[in-house]
């Protein structure tokens, strides 16, 4: 068994720790044995409804053991999981189901939710499927080229882009992540606060299982910061990967917070403000902080920066993103795709074993983001991240912002064009522009500027909620007679931002 085969190591974790707790969900513990019983029950369902060839299986997300067991069962079966968020608009889930040719959807009866799917799609409940089998004799042979999951991110044409990640990608990630040498074992208690549609959830869910440790989950669509803090304090969590915006919510209460058991605080999904972190540090006297960066296309994380509070590397107050993972290589290029000298800003491009093959069924989009460069004498495929970065004299990478009109909202990468496109479907007259501006807590908030709109804002908002995930719906709608233009005739986005 290969040391860095993630699936094999998860099975080891399950088999070696039957009586330890694997999950803590909604106030209830589930042991590895119970988890294994759910997984084998669901594996049976999958085997009954699928053939030899790998296929995509939809999982309707819920904060429950059935959802997590379904995810593992799909991986163990050699198929590909695709998460469907019940809070997403039906049309978005329908697009995802159709584009991945999903014929089987696993759900946990948690929501009174009717998916809009073709009749041939089997929708099967995973409740009451526990089996007596506890994975002792499970024979798992997974082709490393097969896909582990497809995650859908925002796409500029109004259609979400599918990012397919293979087991080979995932194993390369696992090897690199393990080499960060976190001092963790079966006694540790780790946080999983991310929506399963967001790829940080993959490591937050799968990695602890390789250790025989316990995962503490947070319900989605709730007031998250209070839930997260409750778990951190009451359950004495030792490892937490969080989005830095969470800390901005907790900031008014820093003086009340004491988390002496926390060993690691991972900052991810957004740029990390050092000033805010340094104020939080006294709350976690025994924790090491690590800033982890990576696009979904390169499997979760691909650079790491370990924070030494005495020598912090920052740019514009934001923590550096550090150095590339072991099987990844990064370069910074100019507009002509030529590497720029150290200290100069440019677009960061990455290559390596964690990089996806290309977007799901979208060769033209893939062509846009990949290019070839000679690397060590070999033509090598690089991915253009769209992130503007530079490398400092210590070879440490700094993130400066996005190149295009993408922004990070609550950790999700959002193409502003996709929102504008959706607004045009409702209001085709005149132009509209969506911009992000930090609110009073420093978190990005979306503003829609709309020409010639005389209708009710709430009606438009209801339409957007039907079509877009809630994090993509603008918080504020501003009616405007005419969008201001700059000297080159383009919409003057700076001027618009000054208006709010």
């Amino acid at each position: 068994m290969h040391k860095y085969n993630l699936i094999s190591q998860i099975i080891n974790g399950i088999q070696n720790h039957p009586n330890r707790n694997a999950f803590f969900i909604d106030g209830k513990h589930y042991t590895y044995k119970i988890l294994a019983q759910y997984v084998s029950g669901i594996l049976n369902i999958i085997k009954q409804h699928t053939g030899q060839a790998p296929q995509c299986i939809g999982i309707l997300e819920g904060d429950n053991i059935e959802t997590y067991a379904s995810l593992l069962a799909v991986l163990f079966s050699g198929n590909t999981y695709v998460i469907l968020n019940p809070h997403n608009p039906k049309s978005r889930n329908k697009t995802i189901i159709e584009s991945t040719d999903i014929q089987l959807i696993l759900h946990s009866d948690e929501y009174d939710y009717n998916l809009d799917v073709p009749k041939y799609v089997n929708q099967l409940s995973t409740t009451k499927v526990e089996s007596k089998n506890i994975l002792n004799k499970i024979d798992i042979q997974i082709d490393t080229d097969s896909l582990a999951y497809i995650i859908f991110t925002s796409g500029s044409t109004g259609v979400p882009k599918g990012v397919p990640i293979s087991h080979r990608n995932l194993n390369a990630f696992y090897a690199a992540y393990s080499s960060l040498n976190f001092n963790l074992n079966k006694e540790d208690r780790l946080l999983q606060m991310f929506d399963l549609c967001f790829d940080v959830s993959v490591v937050s869910t799968l990695y602890p299982l390789t250790l025989g440790a316990c995962i503490y989950t947070v319900p989605q669509n709730s007031v998250k910061y209070t839930h997260v803090y409750e778990l951190l304090e009451d359950e004495e969590l030792t490892f937490a990967a969080i989005a830095p915006s969470l800390l901005s919510y907790l900031q008014p209460y820093f003086k009340e917070i004491k988390l002496p058991k926390l060993k690691y605080l991972i900052l991810t999904a957004e740029a990390s403000n050092w000033d805010l972190l340094s104020q939080f540090m006294p709350c976690t006297p025994n924790a090491e902080y690590v800033n982890l960066y990576g696009p979904t296309e390169a499997t979760i994380y691909c650079t790491a920066y370990r924070v030494d509070p005495n020598h912090v590397d920052t740019y514009n107050g934001m923590l550096a993103i550090g150095k590339a993972f072991q099987s990844m290589h990064t370069i910074i290029v100019d507009e002509n795709l030529q590497e720029v000298p150290k200290g100069k800003k440019g677009e960061m491009c990455i290559t390596g074993a964690q990089l996806m093959e290309g977007y799901w069924k979208d060769p033209s989009k893939s062509k846009e983001v990949f290019f070839e460069l000679d690397c060590f004498g070999e033509p090598t495929r690089y991915y253009k991240t769209g992130d503007i970065c530079f490398v400092d004299e210590k070879d440490c990478i700094h993130y400066c912002g996005r190149k295009d009109y993408q922004v990070q909202i609550q950790g999700f990468r959002v193409e502003l064009n996709e929102i504008e496109h959706t607004v045009r479907q409702y209001h085709p007259i005149g132009s509209n522009v969506v911009l992000a501006k930090p609110n009073q807590l420093g978190n990005q908030e979306l503003h829609l500027f709309l020409e010639k709109y005389k209708g009710e804002k709430t009606v438009l908002m209801d339409f957007l909620k039907e079509k877009l995930p809630i994090y993509m719906c603008p918080k504020n709608i501003h009616g405007i007679t005419e969008l201001p233009l700059n000297s080159s005739g383009k919409v003057d986005r700076k001027k618009l931002l000054e208006l709010v």
Partner: protein, 80 residues
Amino acid sequence: MELDQILEEVNNIFRKVLNNSTINLTEISTAEDVDEWDSLNNIRLITEVEQYFNVKFKLREIMKLKNVGELCTSVQTKIA
């Protein structure tokens, strides 16, 4: 102040902060019942409630509030 009265004032605060005049909270309402009630708005709501009633909540207290009724009871205890 009576609980009913506090609930009515809290309703007004929610309608104003969440910019939605159709909100009608009851004692058993939670964040699940109101679309706009997310983490950021929770901060805004708590701050508004604190200012309006001239009270202060600790993080622990906010965490333990399970519904609007408990928020109102907590306000009532603090202003008594």
